[in-house]
């Protein structure tokens, strides 16, 4: 702050000179200071996507079943029976790097309110996490605190945390990723929108008092690189999950009684963002009286306008209903105040202590942020992997156990046991497998949901890696028997203004679009998190894709555990294992084979048909760690060994631990296995066969037999995370 006297105010707030010059052109005069602060936040990367929105256009966002694409607080997709699911994934990376407990906790709170704003009842949470290697004390701290924050918040609000995934890599050492996804359910005729409507209607602020927390926080934090030593702690918001739970109960009660015209969450940039988006979406104006807002401490007008205090919602209510709304809020012991009115001016007007402190066209804030094209400089193609330079393990069994003991591949139990993944009594497939399955309250239907990220693949081949992220998540969902119906994505990248990041972003999006088109599903919501880099390093391009699928009957769900001794094991799908960019290699090197979206679609369709016909006792995706790890996971989950016979390829370690293609390990009765085989369309085949049974996990590669004892495997698998954290 020592150079505050010499630095122009707009630059202090993070606006460029060109951006600052654009504001008077839009509003016809110089902005007031509160107005400048409002613009600086609304035009930040976090709120405006100014460096990514030109690239995002390539993603499919509509299609059969899509009731609401991007643009609202969350997307909406039909699930049948007159029900829709609302879902979205969002990052809270930068706050979590500064204060992991509160950063991760408030990330959960924010995404839950996004789903709530659609009128939906939140029924499932997932968290995709990336941290530096657990050999680093700092990463151990960030990881354990982020998990504790998610547990603290998610458990207390009564929404089951049913899934997600985890990865540890040095590239995340200074820039951890914390992405939270929420799914909610709502009747088609009960959905809400954030679009403000009806001049003369009242604007009611519900929930926590407004304080100085997170002033400029999310927006400024999330829009610049973090440098070591910077103390940004006061910028991180503080969580209050008890109030969030009351907000959920209260908003659902208000929606049920038809008392809400529209509903909006207060997230990044607080009231400024919530109100300008409400006005811009509805083509109306809002007049706000800042003196009516319950404050936790004395605040200036600009602070009230941009405070990021958590657990607040903004509602538009018909004047005749205001008293009833306030009464329902009191019943839930929540503060609520009518703080303004909808107008037909199209302007966002804020009064404070008798003066107009802001009077802006709402669209200028919400829609007129600049859009920048980013440099598209391709990274050089990655070099072919020299297999001869990868040392071949002397003892394959030892290498196998070593992989199971790797925190990237071992059991996530240490994490999900800290989360209430059962609350609601609807979790019919619990965490630890391919996707969680949650029964829809009051329906026989269920949803399956999974997140996936493919950062090593994206680093060496962003287009194929982007496709793989979508396809992996869809395959995970299909392994439970569910038919994928929609996707949400969080694109975690470095600074797009430098290097090859812009090109990688474009390529990942193109690959995702190819895969989504092949699957016939759309991205209905999402988030972009840029500037995930430090002076030392840039994160791998990390698209986290969440896919939601539907099961028409909950009891058709399939788990990943081998169920019965003597059953047949089939490895079905396509593709050959490769060590390029694999978890076994542990680094982003080589040229992994690109996935084939058309064959992936066929595989997804085969799995969902087989589940509907009740043919599969288990199904498990072959992903990180290859077929050896997948076989072991199904065996451990079922408490029974298995043997798989595979055809020898180039090298034993590649055959066992290689990744690539779309391969699924299925178990079934011998008769059902025959039926399943007969169902396989052109392009898919049975790659390997085996049998459930015994107390060993065995892979026979021609005459060469590698085995590990099931109890040794389980011990290594369960020890992976606890040992790395000890």
């Amino acid at each position: 702050m020592s150079d505050a006297a010499t630095t122009p105010r707009h630059r202090e707030l993070g606006l460029t000179d060109d951006e600052a010059a654009r504001i008077p052109e839009l509003i016809g005069r110089e902005p007031t200071d509160p107005e400048l602060v409002m613009f600086s936040l609304m035009w930040s990367e976090h709120c405006s996507y100014k460096h990514s929105k030109l690239l995002l256009g390539g993603l499919p966002t509509s299609g059969p079943g899509v009731l609401q694409g991007p643009g609202e607080n969350a997307g909406l997709v039909d699930v049948g029976d007159g029900l829709a699911v609302a879902f979205k994934i969002e990052s809270h990376n930068h706050p979590s790097a500064v204060e992991p407990f509160e950063g991760a906790a408030t990330g959960v709170g924010g995404i839950v309110r996004d789903v709530l704003a659609m009128g939906a009842r939140p029924i499932a949470l997932l968290d995709a996490l990336r941290f530096g290697s657990l050999e680093s004390a700092r990463s151990r701290h960030l990881f354990t605190q982020a998990v504790a924050g998610i547990a603290h918040y998610g458990n207390c609000i009564g929404v089951p945390t049913v899934g997600g995934e985890i990865g540890f890599d040095d590239c995340y050492e200074e820039s951890c990723l914390v992405n939270a996804m929420c799914v909610g359910v709502v009747g088609h005729d009960r959905t809400l929108s954030a679009a403000g409507r009806g001049p003369g209607n009242a604007v009611v602020l519900i929930g926590n008092r407004t304080g100085r927390d997170g002033i400029g926080g999310a927006s400024v934090l999330a829009s610049a690189e973090l440098d070591a030593g910077q103390d940004l702690r006061p910028s991180v918001q503080v969580s209050d999950p008890f109030t969030e739970r009351k907000l959920i109960d209260c908003c659902l009660a208000l929606a049920e009684d038809d008392l809400l015209v529209s509903l909006q969450d207060l997230g990044a940039a607080g009231l400024t963002s919530a109100s300008s988006e409400m006005a811009a979406k509805g083509g109306v104006g809002l007049d706000l009286d800042l003196d009516k807002i319950p404050l936790r401490e004395p605040l200036e007008a600009a602070e009230i306008l941009v405070s990021e205090s958590q657990e607040r919602m903004l509602a538009v209510v018909e004047p005749a209903d205001v008293d009833r709304v306030l009464e329902v809020c009191r019943r839930w012991e929540l503060e609520a105040e009518a703080i303004g009115a909808v107008t037909d001016s199209g302007r966002l007007v804020a009064r404070h202590r008798g003066e107009v402190v802001a009077d802006l066209p709402a669209r200028a804030l919400a829609d007129d942020a600049p859009a920048y094209s980013v440099p598209i400089d391709p990274a050089p193609p990655s070099e072919e992997l020299d297999l001869a330079a990868v040392p071949e393990p002397a003892d394959l069994g030892r290498a196998w156990l070593g992989l199971l003991r790797d925190p990237n591949l071992g059991s996530p139990r240490w994490i999900y046991q800290r989360y209430d993944h059962l609350v609601g009594a609807n979790t019919v497939v619990r965490p630890g497998g391919d996707a969680a399955v949650v029964r829809l309250p009051g329906s026989d239907r269920a949803i399956a949901v999974a997140t996936d990220g493919t950062e090593r693949h994206c680093q060496v081949d962003p287009r194929a890696g982007g496709a793989a992220a979508v396809l992996d998540a869809a395959r995970n969902v299909a392994c439970t028997g569910a038919r994928p119906i929609g996707a949400t994505d969080c694109l975690n990248f470095g600074n797009p203004e430098k290097g090859a990041t812009g090109w990688r972003l474009r390529e990942v999006i193109a690959g995702m679009a190819d895969a989504l088109d092949a699957l016939g599903i759309a991205v209905v919501s999402g988030n972009v998190s840029l500037y995930n880099e430090s002076r030392e390093r840039i994160v791998h391009p990390t698209p986290i894709v969440g896919v939601v699928g539907v099961l028409e009957h909950s009891e058709q769900r399939v788990g990943h555990a081998f169920a019965h001794e003597g059953e047949t094991v089939l490895l079905i799908g396509y593709g050959e294992p490769r060590l390029d960019a694999s978890a076994y290699l542990g680094s982003a090197r080589g040229r992994p084979p690109a996935p084939d979206p058309a064959r992936e679609r066929a595989l997804v369709d085969t799995l969902t048909s087989a589940a509907a016909d009740g043919l599969m006792s288990s199904a498990h995706d072959v992903s990180d760690g290859g077929v050896a790890v997948a076989l072991t996971e199904s065996a451990i989950a079922g408490g029974v060994g298995a043997t798989l016979e595979i055809a020898p390829g180039r090298r034993a370690d590649e055959d066992l631990f290689g990744e690539g293609g779309g391969r699924v390990l299925v178990s079934a009765t011998p008769d059902d296995a025959d039926r399943l085989e007969a169902m396989l369309p052109d392009g898919l085949g049975v790659i390997a066969r085996g049998r459930v049974g015994g107390d060993e996990v065995v892979i026979a590669r021609g005459s060469e037999r590698t085995s590990i004892r099931l109890d040794d495997a389980a011990a290594a698998y369960e020890a992976a995370l606890p040992e790395a954290l000890a």
Partner: protein
């Protein structure tokens, strides 16, 4: 049979508990925390799990002093059945209706997993008496679920086969002297449906209604 399911701000499992009551043949009715009395014709009470009042002060401490709890105490004194699950168990201990207290888990973290319970006292209808099962498989999920007290001066009903929480003498659930008030940390309402992996929780809801599962 009318079963009051008490709801506080922060209750989470009231709907699952009501579903389990209905499945057992009872008629669940919501009892609002601020009301001075239980709903008319209440014959049994469930205090479900959750984070009433956000666990502020101590889990269950604020809820135990809410208006409706005075009537729950009168209902218990009259010999009416009360089932407290997880946070409901904490509320009943805080209210003095059950002995002991619930402390933070030994692991200092939330624990969510399936547990095996052995029925220590098979003399009551709660678990179907002597003809009822000897063990139950039910999930546990809490942060402050380690029962602390004197097992010799409490009517211990349920013990963990392998205690993940660090309770005194593996105690998972206790009753009052009369046997009509039962509190347990595991969640029987999460184990009433084959789709969820276990139906053992049905015994406790049948017991609440005074019949066998």
């Amino acid at each position: 049979m009318t079963v009051a399911v008490v709801r506080f701000p922060g209750s989470l499992d009231h709907e699952s508990a009501a579903r389990a009551v209905r499945q057992a043949g009872g008629e669940p009715v919501e009892a609002w925390h601020a009301d001075a009395s239980l709903p008319p014709d209440t014959e049994a009470v469930v205090i479900p799990g959750g984070f009433s009042y956000g666990d502020h002060l101590r889990p269950g401490a604020i809820a135990s002093r809410s208006a409706v709890m005075a009537d729950v105490a009168r209902h218990a004194e009259r010999g009416g059945r009360v089932l407290g699950i997880c946070n409901g168990f904490q509320v009943l201990c805080e209210a003095g209706l059950l002995p002991g207290a619930l402390r933070t888990n030994a692991a200092l973290s939330f624990v969510c997993r399936q547990v095996e319970l052995e029925i220590s006292d098979r003399s009551t209808q709660w678990t179907g008496g002597e003809r009822g099962p000897e063990r139950l498989s039910i999930p546990v999920k809490n942060h402050d679920g380690a029962w602390f007290g004197d097992p010799d001066r409490a009517r211990v009903m349920l013990r963990y086969v392998d205690d993940p929480l660090g309770s005194t003498d593996r105690v998972a659930g206790v009753a009052n002297d009369g046997g009509n008030v039962l509190g347990l940390m595991p969640h029987p309402e999460e184990a009433c449906d084959p789709l969820l992996g276990s139906t053992d929780g049905r015994h406790l809801f049948a017991g609440l209604l005074g019949r066998a599962a």
